[in-house]
Symmetry: C2
Subunit: 269 residues, 2 copies
Amino acid sequence: MEHPIAILDSGVGGLTVAKEVMRQLPLERIIYFGDTLRAPYGPRPSEEVRLFTKQIVSYLLQYDPKMIVIACNTATAAALDEIKAMTDVPVVGVIQPGVRAAIKRSMKGAIGVIGTEGTIKSRSYEQALKRIAPHLQVYSKACPEFVTLVEQGLYRSSKCKPVVERALHEFKQLDIDTLILGCTHYPFLADAISAFLGPEVELISSAEETAREVSTLLYHRGQLASTLEMPVHQFFCSGDPVLFQKIAREWLGDEIQVNPVVWQIPRFA
Amino acid sequence: MEHPIAILDSGVGGLTVAKEVMRQLPLERIIYFGDTLRAPYGPRPSEEVRLFTKQIVSYLLQYDPKMIVIACNTATAAALDEIKAMTDVPVVGVIQPGVRAAIKRSMKGAIGVIGTEGTIKSRSYEQALKRIAPHLQVYSKACPEFVTLVEQGLYRSSKCKPVVERALHEFKQLDIDTLILGCTHYPFLADAISAFLGPEVELISSAEETAREVSTLLYHRGQLASTLEMPVHQFFCSGDPVLFQKIAREWLGDEIQVNPVVWQIPRFA
């Protein structure tokens, strides 16, 4: 059997990455872990986020993955380097792919970034963008309320519009042409964000871009799936599986085979 | 001094890749070689293309590059594996990046590919697309006349429109949403191609996507430029430097520092 790609997140946000991996790499098998019991990670001290991320990676390593995707910006900002040091399996975070995509797309060189408090406070995006292209102008803002909407399954409700508008009104004044959705929960709200900011601001989804980079790295490492069989994915969460399953099915859709879904709650926490 | 990124092409087509590397990785230094004396490569037997590509890579290796970019689809299709076997320096071709970008962007799963005779005959794009996503529908066509227009510096002339329309009329009948410009010369004609096919067909530029993947690989290998100094690039061609220089300056623009440009004609051919 193919070695899987392990994807982890604080909760359901990483499903946006899983969905894109399924679409862009339909032959790859996924093991997903959402730490719904302890979500959101955004407001937690980075020390704690690092500990939780290491626990989950230890759990996922037993599935012998060929790649680990930290599909959570907060965890990437807090723990990427430590996770890389922990294992020989290649580890991909969600910050760098969004950074490279934003640089590719922004013609004005003026880029907005939204994320959780943890991500924005870490200044990871700003540093990564300027590390590659020092001339860029970067405007950052934490939007923690978006995560709550998504984790509660309210991302298609009428509650989104006023929350999005209140959070993003400052960006209407700025001359940006690119906005990085620096949290894997935010693609759930992409339609509402785009409706408010208008077509001249292109949204960069960490999810799409990370899947693209997973594809790039698997190819260059000679590790693309070698069978033509459709893979069977596995999903785990640490909290209530009912809401997680509802959101996972809504988001991943029926066109993608995710059966049999095995639910299991590991005993740390 | 930073090790450079070596970029090679049959002629001026690879300048589209160089331009994107300069934009997306402004701190990286480039050594460019255009084999204008022997362009176009498209109609040549693949054996010959392989030989020429190896000659140029041997020449470029003396500059101790940290990465080699075969910025020519025909040469990538014919010689990528042999060039990889020739050196420990990582080698990036232009086919795989376009493939991954097309898969990311195509929602219908119906993708067009245009390239030189050599590229289309090799079926490299079709095979690479289906290797990752077997369900895709792929429509390919050779458009060798585009390369001639570009190498002659006529890409902004009124001659382009009828040539583009004649070459691409079949794609108007097909329900594609994505067209891969499978030749690095074609981005010079992107406006004319887009005007004819309309906004519902998204063009994938090998150039943009390859630069993005160069950025990805340099990051994951820990090889991004470490100084903040603006680099001094070097350009070489095997044929007439006057026309090459005219096109290079027109395409790369004044906003990018490419001085001092050193012109030199190596003595093979």
